[in-house]
């Protein structure tokens, strides 16, 4: 695929959609001829961001939506935005520290953002309390092996 492409998605905040979201990311990226490594990294980062929205964004009510936007430009740069309209994050810097979690600390590792940062080229988090969270994941595919 050489043209610029973009898809937007809205999905229910149910944990079954973690797998659906990361597999859709794989479907979107696959025509760009990624390596297995790149594909796995992107799937993992999307899984982390979507899990966070499902787990942390909407508190007890759980009937919010998650919004995804996936974009590919002609150079092989992938931008994936995962957005919710939930409770937001008070201190983004702190939230992004390894092992920091407000979840059940015996079961959540607080490694979500750390994994996203390790697996993508760039991770940007825009969030404000009460307004929701927008996570932007960016990765440029290594096109040397491609067309």
């Amino acid at each position: 695929m050489e043209r610029r492409n973009r898809i937007k998605l809205e999905m229910l905040c149910v944990s079954e959609n973690e797998a659906i979201a990361r597999n859709i990311a794989a479907v979107f990226v696959a025509p760009l001829d990624p390596t297995v490594e790149e594909l796995t990294e992107i799937k993992t980062a999307v899984s982390e961001a979507v899990s966070n929205a499902i787990l942390h964004a909407y508190g007890a009510e759980k009937d919010g939506s998650i919004y995804l936007e996936m974009e590919a430009d002609t150079s092989g740069k992938i931008t994936i935005i995962v957005e919710d309209r939930g409770i937001g994050i008070e201190d983004v810097k702190k939230a992004m520290e390894p092992l920091f979690t407000t979840g059940d600390s015996r079961e959540r590792s607080g490694m979500g953002f750390t994994v996203m940062e390790s697996f993508m080229d760039k991770v940007q988090v825009d969030s404000s309390p009460g307004k929701g969270t927008k996570v932007t994941l960016i990765k440029s595919l290594d096109r040397i092996h491609g067309f």
Partner: protein, 125 residues
């Protein structure tokens, strides 16, 4: 995600297969804890050999089981981690609480040999 169990002496071997994420880890966690209690096991081996996808929920799963086995002075080992799983476990510094082995056989051998004096937790592979 599926899970099968085997007991060797006081070691509960949990073989995970499929995709491990926040969605699937909840059920898996309950199943492991229930089986651990039922069989009065001491140690836990988590086999990731057949895990086709894992995100940081896997770290939470290991940490949670670590807290569980500690109550009985047990230890935890992970086996068969692929490159991506290893990267995530490395990021989390998981090897301060769990040792990693290539195969279940090696993990069992290490459990059977390991005396109380061994600095198990500080060791990494």
């Amino acid at each position: 995600m599926e899970i099968t169990f085997e007991m060797i002496d006081d070691i509960l071997i949990s073989v995970l297969s499929g995709e491990l994420d926040h969605h699937s880890s909840g059920e898996i966690r309950d199943t492991i804890d229930h089986t651990y209690d039922t069989f009065q096991a001491k140690h836990i081996i988590l086999s990731f050999e057949e895990v086709t996808f894992m995100d940081s929920s896997g770290v939470g799963l290991i940490m949670g089981r670590y807290n569980k086995v500690r109550e009985r002075k047990g230890k935890i080992a992970v086996v068969g981690c692929n490159e991506y799983i290893t990267r995530i476990l490395d990021l989390a510094g998981i090897y301060t609480i769990a040792r990693c082995f290539v195969s279940t056989k090696e993990a069992v051998a290490a459990f059977e040999e390991g005396g109380e004096g061994e600095i198990w937790n500080a060791e990494t592979e």
